[in-house]
């Protein structure tokens, strides 16, 4: 698309600006601000790539020479990191490295195209946008309603799909602001999640609108509208009239009630789907029944899933409303949580009658000032007299944001794309292009990129491809003395930036190494930070706005209360602790090691580990070190990583001995005989953090603790059998593998305190056995003993808190070291 409105027109606009000048801001300053000018085309010699030619202007001034190009191996890893956030693997890796025909630029273009065609491109780049869109799956602090947005994920999936389909960026923006007012398929209304899934601020209307104005302007034009809520902008040409003009737009927009959100996809017919429909209908009928009981002449709709909630609520008294809402909430909850529920768009619509905004003086609701029209901020209008005329004005707002004459939208986008490809932005404040933003060193390059975006139908993929075709992108990231001294920050791009994997690419590539990565696209969010640590890509993790789990915070996941254009990146001991001690990483190390177990010889297996994790062969020295490390590691002497062992077996009344056999399989939550219960040999025997289940006959469940030192210990706990059916279980404590020190029988539904005092010596075992009496059905029990040292304040051991999975064996220990390496985390 050609650019139709060059600088002359923009200047014309400015000359026509209304007299309403924002307080304290020099309009001349604003008019001449670099970012408010239309992008300028620079004459290029045509020799070489335009990006290189434009970078060379500054590089030559500074007398810097480019470092050599990086190797194919490095470029391949770099391309896949930038484009997909994954490592190249298998066929792609082998294919790219064996296909060395043609020049390096041609080869490089091929691998870039291949990566851009991968559906994982959309996942990587959607995450960049979701930071800006302050995406989360929950509402934030809000105790009036459920915390979860049941359909936030449809917005996330819309972003992924739009990027994969290379939806033109201007259209991408317009749909997020006004899809409901555009001639597009219903499913595109998922885009409106951009507006609706912000923080709820205890449902304070003015703050929800403030959030929508802020995200809209910061993400598209790099303008900060926050301050203008209470006073005219101190540095930018933005006024309170501008703010409340936009306030009127969003105040004239309303969210659809949860039950009326447009359905954008219906799952295929299946027994699960039918069951869901039946349950949903039952819950809907319960609400209708209640309404019919309380409201005279209540009309039941022919389709029970149709509701006129407002009408019904208006006819109920306060107590009844609460009850009725509760019944509706049950309906919504099922719709929001069932995997068989149709997906819906978190859409908005215009109010029937638009609201006429007034200025709230000092930002105080109710402190009403002058009336203002709904309109685009005056300084940036294409016509000073143009105010919004159609409905809320949201579609006109979307059009103004993306009109070709808007000097900011394409620039802001181009700067972000450059930042994500090259590792640092051209404009140092990518979230602020206002008057405080300094003109970038490579201003001509930024203009070139912005024009490229607009002239190639706003294609983000084309822009990425364009940047990655440059010599600058192919440069090595190794600095030299000259560059380190003259351009330590790499502002001149005479070399590439070494990029550190962010939370998502670090976790996703870890899952790749272990072979656990689930490549399914889209769907409801999952708790990736908790056992059993699903292998979905990180972008599908449940994002909790309030009380964000520490896993996210530790690795610099951005705040979801407000748009974040550039993440911070920290290196902290908390990250190291997570990597050293977390069940997640231990699980990955174990899975990675297991994935190489088929390699018979030690050397072959080491090679396979290096290949999986670091995509290369170890050097001869590294091979020797790995072998020494493996040789000196303790063999797997311990079953679990903690103080307790989990087993099955029997207590022989004759020999007074415990025959303890460790349970071989750990599910992530329980120890048991094999991956499936009942196990062929051990039956239902298992232990989890709270208790377990005995098997039949000789397969009592046994929890074993080994005393670390000589002590008198006080054991407490409660043995209970929650199920009311079946027969009793018997609990025994056997000390030192020789005598029963206590014994209890617990009937179905019963419980008993298990207290006793024992003298133990170092190394002595204390076994907690649970036997089935009669049939083992329904014999599930809870028993998590706590062992205190006499006189001590802290427990020596606690079965529940101290529950742990297996200790790492020597191969996983080695795999973990490689996963922790800088080479794995940093992309050259």
């Amino acid at each position: 698309m050609p650019v139709r409105v060059p600088a002359a027109v923009l200047l014309g606009v400015i000359a026509l600006l209304p007299a309403a000048v924002p307080g304290g801001v020099s309009l001349d300053g604003a008019r001449s601000h670099w970012a408010f000018q239309a992008p300028k085309r620079v004459a290029l010699s045509g020799k070489g790539h335009p990006v290189d030619e434009l970078l060379a202007i500054r590089q030559n001034e500074k007398g810097l020479t480019l470092v050599p190009e990086a190797s194919r191996e490095v470029l391949l890893r770099r391309a896949w990191h930038v484009i997909t956030g994954l490592q190249p693997e298998g066929g792609i890796l082998a294919g790219a490295l064996s296909e060395r025909k043609g020049s390096l630029p041609d080869w490089s273009a091929r691998i870039v195209d291949e990566a851009l065609a991968s559906p994982h491109f959309g996942e990587r780049w959607a995450r960049h946008w979701l930071d800006v869109a302050r995406y989360a799956d929950t509402k934030g602090y809000d105790f009036t309603a459920g915390r979860l947005f049941p359909f936030a994920f449809t917005y996330r999936d819309w972003v992924v799909r739009s990027l994969n389909e290379d939806l033109p960026y201007d259209e991408f923006l317009r749909r997020q602001v006004a899809a409901d007012l555009m001639d597009v398929p219903v499913r595109e209304q998922a885009a409106l999640g951009f507006l609706t899934l912000g923080r709820r601020y205890l449902n304070k209307h003015d703050l929800i609108i403030a959030d929508r104005i802020d995200v809209t302007f910061r993400s598209t034009m790099g303008l900060t509208m926050q301050c203008v809520r209470c006073h005219d902008h101190k540095s930018d040409p933005l006024t309170m009239a501008d703010y409340y003009g936009l306030y009127g737009v969003f105040d004239s927009t309303e969210e659809l009630p949860e039950g009326e959100l447009p359905v954008i996809s219906i799952p295929e017919d299946s027994p699960g789907y039918r069951k869901f429909r039946d349950e949903l209908t039952a819950r809907a009928n319960a609400a209708h029944d209640y309404a019919a009981e309380k409201i005279k002449g209540y009309q039941r709709p022919s389709n029970p899933l149709k509701f006129d909630r407002k009408a019904a609520l208006n006819k109920l008294n306060q107590t009844e409303r609460g009850k009725y809402r509760g019944l509706l909430a049950k309906l919504d909850e099922l719709e929001g949580s069932s995997e068989f529920a149709p997906a819906r768009a978190m859409a908005v619509r215009d109010r029937v009658t638009p609201r006429e905004p007034v200025i709230f003086e000092r930002g105080q609701l109710g402190n009403r000032g002058a009336r203002v029209p709904r309109a685009f901020p005056a300084f940036f209008r294409d016509d000073p007299d143009r105010i919004f005329k159609r409905g809320s004005g949201r579609l006109e707002l979307a059009q103004q944001l993306t009109r070709p004459g808007n000097p900011l939208t394409a620039r802001v986008c181009a700067n972000r794309v450059w930042m994500h490809v090259m590792g640092s932005p051209l404009v140092a404040t990518p979230g602020d292009f206002g008057l405080q933003a300094q003109e970038p060193l490579h201003a001509a390059l930024l203009d070139h990129l912005a024009l490229h975006l607009m002239e190639h139908r706003w294609s983000v993929k084309a822009l990425i491809r364009h940047i990655m075709a440059s010599r600058a992108w192919r440069s090595s990231s190794v600095s030299d003395e000259n560059l380190a001294g003259n351009d330590p920050e790499n502002r001149y791009y005479a070399r590439s930036n070494r990029q550190r994997k962010d939370l998502e690419s670090w976790r996703d590539t870890t899952l790749q190494a272990s072979g656990r990565l689930d490549r399914k696209l889209g769907g409801r969010p999952v708790k990736i930070h908790a056992a059993p640590f699903p292998g979905r890509r990180t972008i599908y993790g449940l994002i909790e706005r309030q009380n964000t789990p520490s896993f996210f915070r530790i690795f610099d996941f951005p705040d979801t209360s407000q748009p974040v254009v550039k993440r911070v990146s920290t290196t902290t001991p908390n990250q190291a602790l997570y990597l050293m001690n977390s069940p997640f990483l231990h699980g990955e190390a174990r899975a990675t090691a297991e994935a190489t177990a088929s390699h018979g010889g030690e050397k072959e297996r080491i090679l396979a580990l290096y290949q999986r994790i670091l995509l290369r062969r170890p050097s001869p020295e590294e091979l020797v070190r790995a072998r020494v490390f493996l040789g000196s590691a303790e063999q797997g002497v311990r079953q679990s990583a903690g103080a307790w062992s989990y087993g099955h077996g029997r207590f022989s009344r004759d020999s007074q001995r415990v025959d303890f056999k460790p349970l071989p399989h750990f599910t992530g939550k329980a120890w048991q005989g094999g991956p499936k219960l009942p196990d062929r040999e051990t039956g239902w025997v298992h232990w989890n953090s709270q208790g377990g289940h005995p098997g039949h006959g000789d397969h009592a469940a046994i929890l074993r603790w080994v005393a670390p030192r000589k002590a008198t210990v006080r054991i407490s706990g409660e043995l209970s059998r929650p199920a009311g059916k079946g027969d009793a279980v018997r609990g025994l404590v056997v000390a030192g593998n020789e005598k029963v020190v206590s014994e209890w029988t617990v009937k179905p539904g019963g419980k008993v305190e298990t207290r006793l005092v024992l003298r133990v010596v170092a190394g002595q075992t204390v076994d907690f056995l649970v036997e089935s009496t009669g049939d083992e059905s329904w014999d599930g029990f809870q028993w998590a003993p706590v062992i205190m040292e006499e006189g001590g304040e802290l427990p020596l051991a606690e079965a529940q808190a101290g529950f742990s999975g297996p200790a790492l064996d020597r191969w996983p220990l080695l795999a973990q070291v490689l996963l922790l390496s800088n080479e794995f985390l940093y992309v050259d």
Partner: protein, 481 residues
């Protein structure tokens, strides 16, 4: 302040080395020199990568080096603790000449059921609820003229903690660790302790908001007594010997990698972070393990959760943690709309001895001079009795409603006057009257005591320089020793 197992400065490059070797931008200088004088750029990546918690000098020498904030969440009644009102007693049961609108309807004057007596050399009047804290009167600087903005918990908590009642802003502890770093690299710089769960507004009370996540408060549930449960992932699941050998192999791998990649200090910083974490496993378990305290010290603090968390607080401060916030309990325990006498008595009994012991203990160790202790809630309570209201109280007519017009907070140590009373409320204790101190003024004063001009401790975000006190706040000089 105290000895450290290691000097973090030796682990990282000096500032000059950093500037020459890795070319820190201005933002790097800001963080490693005087924060705020040069604002950190938005989302500044590499600069933050270099140990953002390294200790830093403030803008000018401050008296206080660390802060303990004892948060009596729910709003303790100033009228029943540190602000005696004989006039209110006289008018008991009658209508007050002055009524102010609070969250809920209130009725007649409601005298304090507690006796006040003069304490310490200074003769500070303290109620019978806090006999042992009262014994420390000569250390206390009581502000009787505090006021906030609204009579509701949520905004008032956020105002007290983050300087803004409605928008998402960094907590004071985050600002302070951003400004000063922390003296101990083996522990979090900002710790928020609350037994049994979260206060209302939950983690927002210690959020870092737009400041880097490393400045966020680390939440510790002091209901637990096992140190391993207090800090996440501190529990080593690999034998110490095995882990050491892992880290040695990792070091070799990383050093080979670094050799070919000169001039990238991030690589060295990450290598060091593993060594720090390795040591932290020892130190953190130690810091939270109060069983290592001698018997007489444990006796001094007493028994129970409050005693445990106050003692942990001292151990953390002693080890160089910059900001410790201690909440009384989950939810809002001090919010006594009903049964004020019974509940306030119970709550005060839980924390009186531990708080007094903390003050004594800090003083004994010479730590009180450089540690600012602050006690208070998000607001105070009405001098009038709360009237029954369906759905919000039990209607017992023996409690008080929220009061943001006037309440008390006390400070101790850290460069404030001891045995001092500042300002006053009206004769009934409804509203700050003489020398009113707004929450922003208190925050400005706290930053001043730490060596910061509150107007200059800023962070550039979203095109604007943000600060704790927004566009408000005045240092209350009369409080300074």
């Amino acid at each position: 302040m105290s000895h450290h197992a290691l000097n973090p400065r030796h682990l990282f490059l000096t500032r000059r080395q950093m500037l020459s070797r890795c070319g820190m931008g201005m933002a790097g200088v800001a963080l490693n020199g005087v924060p705020g004088l040069v604002a950190a750029a938005e989302g500044d990546g590499p600069a933050m990568g270099l140990n953002p918690l390294a200790p830093r000098r403030p803008q000018f020498p401050g008296k206080a080096k660390a802060v303990i904030h004892l948060f009596m969440n729910g709003g303790p009644s100033h009228l029943d603790t540190f602000d005696p009102k004989p006039e209110l007693t006289k008018l008991h049961g009658q209508e007050l000449p002055k009524m102010l609108k609070t969250e809920r309807p209130t009725g007649a004057a409601f005298k304090s059921p507690f006796k006040f007596s003069r304490k310490g050399q200074c003769g500070l009047e303290v109620s019978e609820l806090f006999p042992q804290v009262g014994d420390m009167a000569d250390e206390l600087c009581v502000i009787r003229s505090m006021h906030a903005d609204v009579p509701n918990h949520e905004p008032s908590l956020l105002l007290m903690n983050c300087g803004d009642g409605r928008l998402v802003r960094p907590a004071m502890g985050s600002w302070v660790t951003y400004g000063l770093g922390s003296e101990n690299q083996n522990l979090p710089g900002f710790v928020a302790m609350c037994p049994g769960g979260y206060p209302i507004q939950e983690t927002q009370n210690w959020q870092s908001a737009f400041l880097p996540g490393t400045f966020q408060g680390t939440y510790v549930d002091t209901k637990h007594s096992d140190p391993k449960k207090l800090v996440e992932y501190i529990d080593r699941k690999t034998g110490a010997g095995e882990q050491r050998r892992q880290l040695d192999l990792l070091r070799q791998l990383n050093e080979d990698h670094q050799r070919e990649r000169a001039h990238d200090s991030r690589l060295e910083a990450r290598l060091q972070s593993f060594e720090l974490a390795y040591r932290m496993q020892m130190e953190a378990s130690d810091a939270f393990d109060i069983s290592k305290e001698p018997e007489e010290i444990r006796k001094m603090y007493g028994k129970g959760t409050q005693a445990r968390q106050m003692l942990i607080t001292r151990r953390l401060i002693e080890r160089g943690v910059r900001f410790v916030q201690v909440w009384h309990g989950a939810g809002q325990p001090w919010d006594n709309h009903d049964d004020l006498e019974k509940n306030h008595r119970k709550l005060a009994r839980e924390c009186d001895q531990p708080i007094a012991a903390l003050l004594k203990d800090l003083k004994m160790r010479g730590l009180l001079e450089e540690t600012l202790v602050m006690w208070g809630g998000e607001f105070g309570r009405t001098p009038t009795v709360e009237m029954p209201k369906k759905g919000s109280n039990a209607g017992k007519i023996n409690g008080r409603d929220h009061n943001h017009y006037g309440f008390s907070v006390w400070l101790a140590g850290g460069g404030v006057k001891g045995g001092h009373v500042h300002g006053s409320t009206d004769p009934y204790g409804f509203q700050a009257e003489d020398k009113p101190v707004h929450v922003h003024d208190l925050q400005a004063t706290i930053l001043h005591l730490l060596g910061f001009d509150h107007e200059k401790l800023t962070y550039r975000y979203s095109g604007r320089d943000f600060r704790l006190t927004d566009v408000h706040g005045k240092v209350v000089r009369e409080l300074l020793a």
